[in-house]
């Protein structure tokens, strides 16, 4: 338990990070230059492909709402989240009750 753990190069070196980003940026531009040369903005090349259906006028019909984000994650952890949301009852008295509960818990730990 008393062993020393260090990452080797200390906590931080901003210059090596900057060098990393320069190199990474260079690689990104290099890969980008390998792409097709006949791409033009504003032509039919950058139109939205909507499953060959007509694209809706308003973006409202296209977008994914926020509550759909991480649907699988929440679905997989459903029991956990049901318990967790159940704890947040929103009753003002429960807020005070939790506070007293923690006080009692800490008191038992310290006094006993």
């Amino acid at each position: 338990m008393w062993t020393k753990v260090l990452t080797g190069f200390g906590y931080w070196d901003v210059y090596s990070w900057l060098a990393f980003f320069v190199i990474a940026g260079g690689m990104v531009f290099f890969i980008r230059s390998l792409g097709r040369k006949d791409y033009r903005q504003g032509t039919e090349q950058d139109e939205i492909f909507y499953g060959s259906n007509p694209v809706p006028e308003d973006g409202e019909d296209l977008k994914v709402p926020a509550s759909s984000a991480y649907w699988g994650y929440t679905q997989a952890l459903k029991p956990f989240y049901e318990g967790l949301v159940g704890l947040h009852t929103g009753l003002a008295t429960d807020y005070a009750g939790w506070y007293i509960l923690v006080t009692a818990f800490v008191a038992l730990l310290i006094l006993v």
């Binding site: 949301v85 947040h88 009852t89 929103g90 009753l91 003002a92 008295t93 429960d94 005070a96 009750g97 007293i100």
Partner: protein, 116 residues
């Protein structure tokens, strides 16, 4: 004879206040429970400062020669705590009035639009 009875009173007032705070359902009753807790705290601090047979810590009223006064610091602290308690009570009751206007209810089970 009196023993530690004032401390017992303080403890019982605290427990009563806690029970009121957690188990009451009416907002005004919750505010009352909070007031009971404040009163218990004030009573406790004054109780700490009492010396048996002590006199009032005011030289104008000390009479002749009695220099054994009760402790003055708790009284000063309690004075501050009382005014702070009044300020909190007034603000809490104002919140309750406004909440009643918005929600049409004083039941704490109806005041829970924010949860989850």
């Amino acid at each position: 004879m009196i023993g530690n009875f004032p401390y017992l009173v303080v403890g019982i007032l605290f427990v009563m206040g806690f029970i009121g705070l957690v188990f009451e359902r009416n907002l005004v009753k919750i505010a009352i429970a909070m007031s009971v807790i404040e009163a218990a705290t004030n009573l406790f601090i004054i109780t700490l400062g009492y010396r048996t047979g002590g006199s009032i810590p005011v030289w104008t009223m000390a009479g002749g020669g009695s220099s054994r006064m009760v402790l003055p610091t708790p009284q000063a602290l309690t004075l501050t705590a009382i005014v702070i308690g009044l300020a909190t009570t007034a603000l809490m009751l104002s919140f309750i009035m406004m909440i009643y206007r918005h929600y049409g209810s004083l039941d704490v089970r109806d005041i829970r639009r924010l949860r989850g």
